[in-house]
Amino acid sequence: MQKAIVQLVGDLEAKDPHIRFAAARTLGELGENNALAYNALIKTLKDTVWFVRLAALQSLKELKLDIPAILRYIVPMLQDTHEDVREYAVLTINDQGPEAAVAVPFLIEALSDSVWYVRERVAWVLGQIGTSAREARSSLMRCLTDNEVEVRLASLEALGSICCKHDTEVLTTLNAIVNNDDQPSPVKEKVKTVLMRIKKADKSQTHFPSSRSKS
């Protein structure tokens, strides 16, 4: 196995990006988290071609990363030039479960991503983090006027997971949306569901939503 890994690591330097891409993916599929493969994949996160960076990221996600590695190597990828890489970085952060809370400040920044489906994904992950993402409340409320309905819906879902009945500012904002004729009916319906959820739940002791689904 070591021989194959050495060969694949060598292929990560190939001129043809498709070979680098295949090598990066195969290293992940081998599932061997040894130092040589790991370090080579980390280095490949800076490849000049986006789909090679993405392949390295996908493989590292499979090999599992610890929190220091997430902060050092994955969080910077939230600024990648390609939206698929940014979105996958968000998914990789989400894999950390409750510990993903350390990335909340960076996820809040990513709520301003230029691509709507990255913003939607970020909002969703903040909701998955739950009450540990409370500092995202204001930014998520700003997303309720996002141009894209999908982002508004994901932000509402997140607020439902993060907020409690004592978050009066959030409740006031949500109640205003129900009466706002500029908001489409799916958003208004979602607000009603979220309001009920917030009013019912006592999240004072909860630090992670029980319905969390792993990516």
Binding site: G28, E87, Y117, E148, E150
Partner: protein
């Protein structure tokens, strides 16, 4: 009436192969080499089904798919994802999203008969 299929793939060999396979099977086809080209062809061709690669220069298959599903005119066109990278399913794997998942995923290399069977499921 002949059914129309739009093939979006950056690899010329794959485009040529699919084009030949589908034309010989009685479909009318058009090819595009990335997501941006795909969207241009989509509006002029209005296909009954789209075969979509994922890893392509410029706009990827993920970007194309999300844009497609937001288009009131084109959102109901069925999509078969044809990719060598199964991890791409991760992008579509969450039911939280308002964007529905693609109809089918097929891994490269694929069986031509399997592809034709899947196409027949969506356009008769």
């Amino acid at each position: 009436m002949t059914k129309k299929i739009l093939i979006i793939d950056d690899e010329e060999d794959v485009r040529t192969y699919l084009n030949s396979l589908l034309t010989n099977s009685g479909y009318h086809t058009k090819v595009a080499d990335d997501g941006e080209d795909g969207f241009r062809k989509l509006t002029e061709f209005f296909p009954d089904l789209i075969i979509l690669d994922i890893i392509m220069p410029n706009q990827s298959g993920v970007g194309f798919y999300r844009k497609l599903k937001k288009s009131e005119v084109h959102k109901d066109i069925p999509v078969i994802i044809l990719s060598a990278v199964t991890q791409y399913k991760d992008f579509f794997a969450h039911d939280h999203q308002s964007v529905p998942r693609p109809q089918e995923f097929l891994e490269k290399p694929f069986s031509p008969q399997e592809l034709l069977n899947k196409i027949a499921t969506y356009i008769k």
